[in-house]
Structures are given as structure tokens and as C-alpha cells.
Symmetry: C2
Subunit: 532 residues, 2 copies
């Protein structure tokens, strides 16, 4: 595919600025082909205005047609072929197999949302029937359902260049809801973004969606994101990335004359607590899973387990020794880009300078900084060491974790209390451990969006029940998830109809229930039609 | 009941500050009994810390016990007797009958939430069953449900001293969710607040809720609200009131190191569009309802219809004449307090100074400013008059509205486009009008949270399907409602359990489904247990 590096404003290309940048292969430092043009304010205005102008038309398409669009996106994504995976691998250092897995996740996700909107119950249709005879006041007919909010901006993540970028859940769920999308391409994988965008545009054309339901804009400067979030016609934005970047845009969204929700998922520490039952009978099953979770994808997951707490004991010593040995076997590998690599190596230097922690294990072979390679590191400290170094409670993005030896439940609870909000918290142990350590669980329940038992937080299941969110700084609003079907809730709002004529109601609210959706009628769940 | 004017920090009274204020009877200007103490920062800290300390215990109470608590609140509210209504009437100028109606709404609301949490399906339990044989990766067991966020602050409204204050949906839904509540008493009805608070405290004691699930603090200064919203242990806040007050606290909530959601409902213009079919056959049925909606409660509703657009015609002239005549029959009445009265009279002066609008009707008798009385006013203008005066798009709180004559659909659409977000939008007309004026509806659907046909927005039905919210400035987050059972969503967040032992899961997620709640199992709605 020939890339142009232009802004894709609907089907139209625009490259007003002479300021350009390229993708860079992090494994070689080489500039990749294609000059990507920094978007101008005018181009951003045009993209959002176009999205706004087609919103009503897109919203009012039957859900089935929007489902066709989502399925066509899946097909066109696959049709990009190996060239797509190769470009992604070149821009990110991800192995081809990882790129293929991400593509599969995106494609499955598009089908899942298509299925959900064809079925239709997700709109949460609610009906309270009228009672003209009620005293002292007649009861009106009230019906409500979820409707899309309007144009949505998406800021993808660097670490999932396919599955949490142009083709991620943000874009797909916004389309499913009926919202036009403007994606700000991630400057670390601009070619991947353009290829994915062209797949979406082709799908939109094939399924006759209005021109403008999708635009892609490029930019390395903070201005581009700022202009996008400040645009008065924008109604919501979704972001995955760093705390600093997310918070800056969140503040801009809130400071607008008309604030809009800014849904940022900003990563977290993802603590793991190893309870006594887990290591009583040997540690291998826990340590192997842990080191795998720690080093997978060169530790570049927002669910990377950055902190592991256990109870000081011979078993804990064995656990630490086993982890150290396994970590030494991790061959240093290329990180996503030079910026992340620099932040990681700086972070490791800082960690090495902390007196109260001990480096107990690291990759046996040395990383090549020219290739932006990262080694894995595991540190060990005590409860007091944690208490003296609050930076150990902060995420360091990459294959690094700290083992914390505690005296028992009280120190576990104290550590949990000091944790910031986290996407996940993990327990290793037995059922009896969960009972014995209930005070710890009571705290973790307040801190995390997902509680994992005898597993690891990486490898997120995309389904109806998943929650990928949590208290700040994991996200900016803990009600909303950025993965799984519930993430569509970010781009909708309830609209209520009072005494509205049946024929003019949205289908899901009409008496006959022509789509057969689940509804709440006078408080009862039902798929029945309303008669009489 | 003997009032003390102290902060009620759980069951403990505290009055550290010597700075006090009293309730004032707006009809007489007299100070009412009891000196209410301005809360100190220390008292606010104590109230929030206490709420935080009992959160886990309150959260983990069986829903049935929390339902008992809500029902006891209803009973204790009724047990306050006429004295409660008399105090409310004295502090607000509301007639006793209105106070009684508000009390009934609060009591009904408590029973409705009690019923909902006993039934239990509101937690939105979702289960995706595992598949250990799935390739390339085993599928984990994922389950999620809604859980309470933590301590919640409530800022009640002046215009509903019972139904949207201490005993309002904010407090009741937060309790239903499992969140402790700290109410900032409204300084315009502090005695009403204390009496209501004592009913809640008695109910909490009777049903053995932990001491600290409820606190009441007083204050007239902005510091009290600021300290409360800034408190690090606070997890959410709900507010009903003015745009200026709501936005100021919203900005504080967002600027925290750890931002929290601030759910403000700040009123709106609530436009009414009178389509041709509505007045073809005479205007009486429309005008009588309109003037009633306009003047009810001295126009002090956030859903007051502040703008009525029609098509210039003889019929529209008749409509205007009929409205003017009916408005003259409104006897001036006391507003809630001197501040609101002053804002209203100033607003009317400003409106009278606008050249492009004409005062076509007002109360025949003169208001007595000593009694904070408001007369009703109706103005008439044209599309061009609206275009020249953007302040006509802004809410003026009180019994005032503007009739706008338009040339037809295009001007309707242009007016709708210029509207800010609104709690409601109303159409009067026929079913055929809805078809003929579809472009107008497409715009209103983007602007309002509730669309009303041949009715009026005041008199909100408290039920499952109601939505009392809308795009900014109607609220700060259009996904959430402040009235109706969905308002519980403001105080919860999903928590997800991965591969968690069945016996240790919350009841709604256990295989046996012991509470028989509706769940989503592998995407299908069901109340069945999970076997095998």
C-alpha cells in the first residue's frame, strides 16, 4: 500500500503543513518511508466539523447497517495482509506474531460489537407505562434508551499499535454507538495508523456510511491533541497512554467552556499479593507465571505486575531466588520507541540508586542501547523499604518489578492502603487464604478495577463482563472501561421520551418491540411486546 | 423538635466555630430560631474520615439491611410530622401542600430504591464462563458487578428543600449503592436540613447501620464546599443548583491531585416548540398548560419552560394573547430567598431593557419586594430578536418566559442549534408535525435529555426510565441522571473478578445465583443458576 502521510479528513487527503516526521524503526534507529504531515488547526477543524455534519445521518442508520460497517472493517483489516503486520513490526519492534495476535483481537472485537448492536439490547431500553387515573397526578408515559453523544476523538496507545490504536475498542465502540470518530494517529506508528485508517475508510465506503464518519490526523506536537480536545463540536474523547499525557488532555477537556468527558486509561502498578497457601507447596507455578507476565511484550503492558508482596519466610526467599533465576533468562528486547526506552533506563538508574532496595535479578545478557533494548530487572525490599520510597508505588513502564517482604496481614493492608488506584490487583493463594486475609481484600476492592485469583493481569479477555478501568490514576473515571463491550457506555447518554407517539419512537422503545430487545418495563426485564 | 445548629458528624454533635447564621423567612425577612454553626475544616475532615472508616462495613451489609435502612428513613421522615412541613414552609416560602408533596416524593423514592436493591438486578452482574481448552489461550472466568465508590458529598438544591436536599435522590441512591453520605446543608433551609438529618440518623441507629454513614455539615461560605470537595477521602459529589456554583465546585473536583466525579445538575432553558398542528384547532389546551408550568412553584423549577417558539401566524398571535391574559392572573408569590428574588428582579430589569423584545403579559397585581414576591412575565420577540440577544438563550430562574415567532422550520432549526444543553425539550403538535419537522427533532435530540410531547417538563416522574440530565450546562456529565433509579450509577463502578473462587464472590456473581438476580451470562440475559 502506498502511504501518503496526509491527514485523512473523511475520504479527502490534506497536507497543509510542511512540517513532517517519519516512523522510526526502534531496533535500528532508521527512519521509515513516508513523511507524515503535522496537522494544522484548520485541518482539525475540518475533520471535527465534517464528523459533526454527518453525525445525525450516521446515528440514524439502522443498527444492522452499522454492524455491516464494523464487519467490513474486520474484513478490510484482514485484507491489508502481511504488509500491515510488517509495517507495524518495523515501527514498534513487536514481533510479527504479536502483531498478528493484536490484529486478531481487533478483528474479533469488531465482530463482537457488530453482534451486540445487531442484537440491540445494549441500548438499555426502559419503559414506564402511563396511568391516567393516578392521583393526585396522572402518570405520564416515560421511555428511555442510550443514544450516541456525537463526534469522538481517539488517542491510541503506543504499546498496542493495532489493538489499542486506530482499530481499537475506542474507535469500534464509538462506531457501534453511532458516533463519528477522529483518530489522532500515534506518532510512534504513523504508517500502521494510516494503513488501518484506509481499511476503515474502505469499509465505510463499501457499506455506504456517510463520508466523514472517520478521519485520521497526524501530529507529534501537543498542539494537535489540544486543538482536537478543545474543538467545540467534539463531544467526548478516549485516550490510552501515560499519566502525564492523559492528565494534560483531561485538564484541557475539563477547562473548556463546555467541558466534555475525557476517558483516559493511564496504566497502573497492578500489585500482586502472594498469600501463604500459594507458596507452601513450592513456588514454581507462581514464579513462572509471574516472570512470564513481567517480561511478555518487553513488559510494555498497562497491566504489568510492578509490585509483588509476600510474607518474609524461607518460602519467600525461595520465591525471590526462583524469580531472580528466571528473570536472568530473559533476553533483552527492543522497546517500542527511543522515548520509552530512555524513560525505562532512567527509571532503572533511579531505582538502582535507592538504598533500601536490592537488585536480585536481571537479564543475563546485556541490552544493546542502539537497538532500544531493555533488560528485565527484579528488586527486593521490605515493608520499611517501601515506606521510605514512595516512588516504588509508581509505575515504571517496562519489564521491572519489586518484591516486597512483609511481616503479615497488617503490613499487607498498609501497603494496599498506600496504593494508588490500579487497573488490577492479583492474589495468589488458596480459598482459605482469601478468608484469612479478608481485610486485605476489602482494601484491594477499593483500589482496583479487576481482582485476579491465581493468575496474572496481562492478557485481557475482551468480553461483556471485563472491566479494564479503576480509580485514578488507572483511569479518569472509574465507572467506565476501555476494553470489553461496556466501553460503549463512554459514547452514549440516555435520552428520555415522555408521552411520545409510538410510531415516532426509536424502534427499541416502540410497543411492538420490533427488534425483540430486552427492556425494563415497569421495572421488570422483558422481551415481550406491550399490548393494550 | 429541638434544633441545635451543630454539625452532625454521625451521631456526634460538633460546633467548633462561633460563626453562625440562621434560617430566614423569605415572606417576612425574619430570622428563624436556631443559630447554625459554620463548619470548620476540622469538622469536615472528621465527617469525611468517619464516612471513610465505615465504608467497607456499610458496603458489605446485605442489600436487605440497606433496604431496611431506606424504609426506616421513609418512616422517620413521616414521623417528623407537621412540624417538619411547617419549618420547611417558613424557611422557603413554599405552601404547606407543596412541602407535603415533596415529602411524599422523598418517601416514595426511598421505598422505590429499597425495592430495587432488595430485588438486586441493578448491580448489572455479568459472567463470561471459562474455556480452558480455547486456543491459542485458555479463556478465564470473568465476572463483574457494580460496587459502591466510597464516601459521597451531597449539595442539595434550594428549590426542593425536601425532595432534592438532605432526603433527595442523591442521598438515597448513594445509600442504596452502599456509599456513606456527607450532606452540605443548604443555608437557605438549614432547619429543614437538620430535621431531615435527624430522621436519617434515627433510621440508621434503628437499623444498626455503622455510625458515620451519614453526616450533615453547615456553611454559608464557599470554603465549606471547597474543603468538602477537596477532601482526599471523598470519592464523588452530587450537586443541584446554579451554573456558577456548580461549575466552581466542578472545577475544584477536577483540579484535585486525584480528581473525582462531580455530578452537577444546573438547570436549563427547557425550550418548547409549538408546531402548527398544536394551535390549528385553538390554543387553549396548550396555553393553559404552559402558563401553569411557567408559574407553578413561582417558576422555581430547573425544568421551567423559558423559551417558547412558534410560527408567526394569526394563530401564534392568538397564542401570545392568550398566554398574556392567563399570566396576568398569576398572583405574585414569595420566592425561596432574598438572593433568588434579587437575581430574578435584576434579570427582569435587564430583559425589560432589551429593545428587540416586547413585554406582552405580566401579573396584574404588583409583587411586594418586602415579601420577596415575584410577578410572572412573558415577553415576545422574533427570530431576529433572539439572534441579537444571546442572553435570551440563558436561564432566568423564576416565572418568566419568552415567546419567539419564527418563519418556519429553518428558523426553528437555527434556534435549536444555538441552544445550550438542556434538561428537556418539548414539542406541541400532532404526529404528522413530528414527521414534517424531523430536522428540528434531530437537533433537539442532541441538545436535551428528555423530549416531551404535548406536555410540560415540570413535574418529573421518579421511575426507572426517567432521565433528568442532559448535555452541559444542564449537567456536567450527560451519561448520568440525578432523578430516577438510574441515578445510583453515579456512585458505583464495575469491579471485575477473574478466576475467583465461587464461595468468595459477591452473591450476585455466584454460580447458584442465590438472590435470583438477572445477569448477563456469556452475553445472554438470564436469572438461572450456572451448573456444571
Amino acid at each position: 500500500m502506498k502511504l501518503t502521510g496526509a491527514q485523512l479528513i473523511g475520504s479527502r487527503e490534506s497536507a497543509l503543513s510542511d512540517e513532517t516526521f517519519t516512523g522510526i524503526n526502534p531496533a535500528t534507529g532508521e527512519n521509515l518511508d513516508t513523511d507524515f504531515h503535522e496537522a494544522t488547526k484548520q485541518e482539525i477543524d475540518e475533520a471535527v466539523a465534517l464528523a459533526d455534519s454527518v453525525f445525525s445521518e450516521f446515528r440514524d442508520r439502522l443498527a444492522d447497517f452499522r454492524a455491516d460497517f464494523l464487519e467490513a472493517i474486520a474484513e478490510e483489516t484482514m485484507a491489508l495482509g502481511d504488509e500491515f503486520l510488517e509495517r507495524t513490526a518495523a515501527e514498534t519492534g513487536h514481533p510479527i506474531a504479536r502483531c498478528a495476535a493484536e490484529r486478531q483481537r481487533s478483528v474479533n472485537q469488531a465482530y463482537l460489537f457488530a453482534e451486540m448492536i445487531r442484537e440491540g439490547s445494549w441500548v438499555d431500553a426502559r419503559i414506564d407505562l402511563p396511568d391516567p387515573d393516578r392521583e393526585p397526578m396522572a402518570k405520564p408515559d416515560i421511555r428511555s434508551l442510550l443514544q450516541p453523544v456525537g463526534p469522538v476523538a481517539v488517542f491510541g496507545a503506543s504499546n498496542f499499535p493495532i489493538a489499542i490504536s486506530v482499530l481499537g475498542a475506542d474507535t469500534i465502540s464509538a462506531f457501534a454507538a453511532g458516533c463519528p470518530v477522529i483518530v489522532k494517529a500515534h506518532p510512534a506508528h504513523p504508517g500502521t495508523c494510516e494503513m488501518a485508517a484506509r481499511a476503515i475508510l474502505k469499509a465505510a465506503e463499501r457499506t455506504r456510511m456517510p463520508d466523514g464518519v472517520f478521519s485520521l490526523i497526524h501530529g507529534r506536537t501537543t498542539d494537535v491533541g489540544k486543538w482536537l480536545v478543545e474543538h467545540p463540536k467534539l463531544t467526548a474523547a478516549a485516550f490510552t497512554g501515560s499519566l502525564a499525557g492523559g492528565r494534560a488532555l483531561y485538564d484541557i477537556a475539563n477547562a473548556r467552556p463546555v467541558p466534555i468527558p475525557f476517558y483516559a486509561e493511564m496504566g497502573s502498578v497492578n500489585p500482586v499479593f502472594v498469600l501463604p497457601g500459594a507458596i507452601k507447596s513450592g513456588v514454581n507455578h507462581v514464579t513462572s507465571g509471574f516472570v512470564n507476565a513481567l517480561t511478555m511484550g518487553v513488559g510494555q503492558f498497562c497491566t504489568n505486575p510492578g509490585l509483588v508482596a509476600g510474607i518474609e519466610s524461607e518460602q519467600w526467599d525461595n520465591f525471590a531466588a526462583d524469580v531472580a533465576e528466571r528473570v536472568s533468562g530473559f533476553t533483552p528486547a527492543t522497546m517500542l520507541h527511543a522515548g520509552i526506552h530512555h524513560a525505562y533506563t532512567t527509571g532503572i538508574e533511579n531505582r538502582n540508586a535507592i538504598e533500601e532496595i536490592e537488585l536480585i535479578g536481571k537479564s543475563a545478557s546485556n541490552p544493546d542501547p542502539e537497538k532500544s533494548e531493555a533488560a528485565a530487572y527484579v528488586y527486593r525490599t521490605t515493608y520499611d523499604g517501601m515506606a521510605a520510597n514512595s516512588e516504588l508505588y509508581e509505575e515504571l513502564f517496562g519489564p521491572v518489578s519489586t518484591l516486597v517482604g512483609c511481616a503479615g496481614l497488617d503490613e499487607f493492608v498498609a501497603i494496599a492502603e498506600k496504593l494508588d488506584g490500579s487497573l488490577s490487583a492479583t492474589i495468589h493463594g488458596t480459598e482459605q487464604d482469601l478468608i484469612d486475609f479478608r481485610p486485605l481484600l476489602k482494601v484491594l476492592q477499593r483500589k482496583a478495577g479487576r481482582l485476579i485469583f491465581n493468575g496474572y493481569p496481562v492478557g485481557l479477555e475482551v468480553c461483556h463482563s471485563i472491566h479494564h478501568g479503576g480509580p485514578y490514576p488507572a483511569t479518569c473515571h472509574s465507572y467506565f472501561t476501555s476494553v470489553g463491550t461496556r466501553c460503549i457506555e463512554r459514547f452514549v447518554r440516555p435520552v428520555c421520551y415522555q408521552d411520545w407517539p409510538d410510531s415516532q419512537l426509536p424502534l427499541a422503545l416502540q410497543n411492538a418491540n420490533p427488534r425483540g430487545v430486552w427492556r425494563m418495563v415497569d421495572g421488570e426485564r422483558s422481551r415481550e411486546e406491550i399490548t393494550g
